[in-house]
Symmetry: C2
Subunit: 204 residues, 2 copies
């Protein structure tokens, strides 16, 4: 049983994962909730629903709404935001890095820097050069870390983690999981933390 | 310009419209925001996106999540909830009544009673008998009101209102509109009211 924590399932291409990623460490910390970062890929999950692209591209009215909504949300949380010149951008390499680095104390900083690059700086996070620059910016050796990320073992782990996401019932990002409870969407972070408070007994 | 109010666009078959419909009159009243109820049909809008059924049926993981989420939301707002034996149920007749009655003071009570019938009492709101009973329960003459609802003028008005919804960029329900700003989802009601407070100048 891994009920005593909040799992944060995120995809680097996902717009609403951006504000969630920027807020979650502080919010979970303030609520005293242990946090587990869980990078995964939405692409295979969307493909299994018959979607070859982001639903925000497939359904234009929904897409137009989402971009305006992102502006408002980022204003609300005082987060910088610039609509990316390309959407979605593949978060595959960044997700591999985040998974390979999940035990490293700098991992959350890396995750936030990737989101900032994509959604505040309009940089192409699908490119090796961008990910390498971000790794360097958080004090890591890009060559070494990319090699770990691109190892066949780590690639396989990300595939498994994505399969696990589907098995858990995840259909979008961000998703917060506590025990068997799913909360979908940046706007549910507070509900997830409140659920934790009400249901998880603190260890005295 | 009709900026000085909040438009509540709802569909009787829509699960998340239920808590919004139950909460909105009190919430808007407390915030001093004039409210306009706007029944419409999601069916034609979904059809234009290629969906012949509710996305909650077309995408089972999303559907499973939604039903659990509805339980949690209704607990949160202390609303009765029973998962309907059939979903979705056509809200066509009820929407025609709500539109024909939009100027009547009992209209909000009728709307809430229809939602309660569908999502708390598992009654078949698509049936004339159910709608007639609900009309009687709010003190109206069912025969007379159904005749007004089923007039060709009123049917045409509902078609136009649904076309207008699509033109406004509505792709789901509930949707709250203030001026040109859309807020989608029960969980955005408070954001919509806050937007009103910040942007609409009160008349002294």
């Amino acid at each position: 049983m891994e009920q005593g924590r909040l799992e944060f399932w995120f995809e680097f291409a996902s717009t609403y994962s951006y504000p969630a990623a920027m807020r979650i460490e502080e919010a979970a910390g303030a609520a005293g909730v242990p946090l587990k970062w869980r990078p995964f890929l939405l692409g295979p999950i969307f493909a299994s629903q018959g979607w070859g692209d982001s639903p925000f591209n497939l359904y234009p009215a929904k897409g137009r709404y989402m971009w305006r909504d992102m502006q408002r949300i980022c204003e609300k949380y005082r987060l910088p935001f610039r609509r990316p010149g390309k959407f979605p951008r593949s978060g595959l390499l960044a997700a591999r890095v985040a998974l390979a680095a999940e035990a490293e104390p700098w991992c959350p900083r890396f995750v936030r820097a990737v989101y900032r690059a994509n959604f505040a700086e309009d940089r192409d996070i699908s490119r090796l050069e961008t990910v390498a620059e971000i790794l360097a910016s958080v004090g890591q050796n890009p060559r070494e870390m990319v090699a770990r990320a691109e190892s066949s073992e780590n690639k396989q782990r990300l595939r498994e983690q994505t399969g696990w996401a589907a098995a858990l019932g995840i259909f979008g990002a961000p998703t917060f999981i506590i025990g068997n409870e799913l909360f979908w969407g940046n706007d549910r972070l507070e509900d997830a933390l409140e659920f934790y408070r009400r249901t998880i007994s603190p260890i005295a």
